[in-house]
Amino acid sequence: MTSDVPAYSMSMLVICLCLSLNANSEQAQTGPPKSGSVYASAEIRALQADDTANPGMLWVANGEMLWNEAAGSQAKSCAHCHDALVTTTPATIPAMRGVATRYPMVDAATKSVINLEGRINLCRAKHQGAAPLAYESAELLGLTAFVAFQSRGMPRQVTINETNRAVFERGATLYQQRMGQMNLACVHCHLQNAGKTLLAEKISEGHSNGYPIYRLEWQGLGSLHRRLRSCQLGVRAEPFAPGSDQYLALELYLTWRAAGLPIETPAVRR
């Protein structure tokens, strides 16, 4: 019986901490969400704004090339089904405008939540008869960036309903869950302390509206999952696998969180 008392008080303490965390997170959510570019330096914002200087546009150009390239046993290109390419620089495909705003979505056939990368690989399997592209490969990043680029400036349109609520709630839980040796959750930096300074960096609100992004630290383009991996390594947690269910759940939650922010792909960050 005596051992029950400390356990009981410990659980009360945990509940109190959870309550205070919730109270904090409600307080910190003031005003509309601010894109990561708001927290970036003027030089980085200028680099992102100028399409001829933005290094992410090289991946978009690569994606444009792959869009027109026949692949798989069907020897069909993306353009074969979707639309012919309009010859502007950078290329615009009117039929693909707004497509990226709907992701992550529930795939009608598999009933599971997929992101843009997942859709590209499903398309490859179903319509092109091609092997899936590896996560973080230059090809998949290029195609994703090219498709997302078509919706640049448009806000994301993700609604939470009974088909994706379970995944959304898992993402919300992961967002609040402490992890790693630092024992920090996403919420501690990107919600409660957004806008403050961490060493030489401004902490952003951690929105997902610019992915895939060109990070100067990476010297290349990377997906949201790669960025989440960086965050997990930062708090000394064991990262999830790219394309894993955990990251997809977080991606859905982050997309919902960034509601109203226009897509900036390819964004540039430090």
């Binding site: 001829t52 200087a53 546009m57 690569n62 010297q219």
Partner: protein, 106 residues
Amino acid sequence: MVARADLPAEAKRGAVVPVRIAILHAMETGYRFDVNGRSIPKNVINTLTCRYLGESIFRAEMGSGMSANPSVHFYFVAERTGDLEFEWIDDAGERGSHRAKIRVVT
């Protein structure tokens, strides 16, 4: 290898025209190691050239100090309508090329 060249579509004869070219390349320095601790061999674009009206107008020799996805800016004098032909080669022997058109008006 993918590249993007940026220059005005049209220029007056005799005008000094700015050109920018960005090339998608990792520019591996040779100082990095992979996850297994093996050294990643140096592989950078060592030579970039540009020809205009059959003449070489620009040449750059680059080393491991250049960033990934190098962006090279230079100027040339527009004389006649024609193509700028960029060519480059990296340490692995892979070649790339890009072509950009300029129309010259009087």
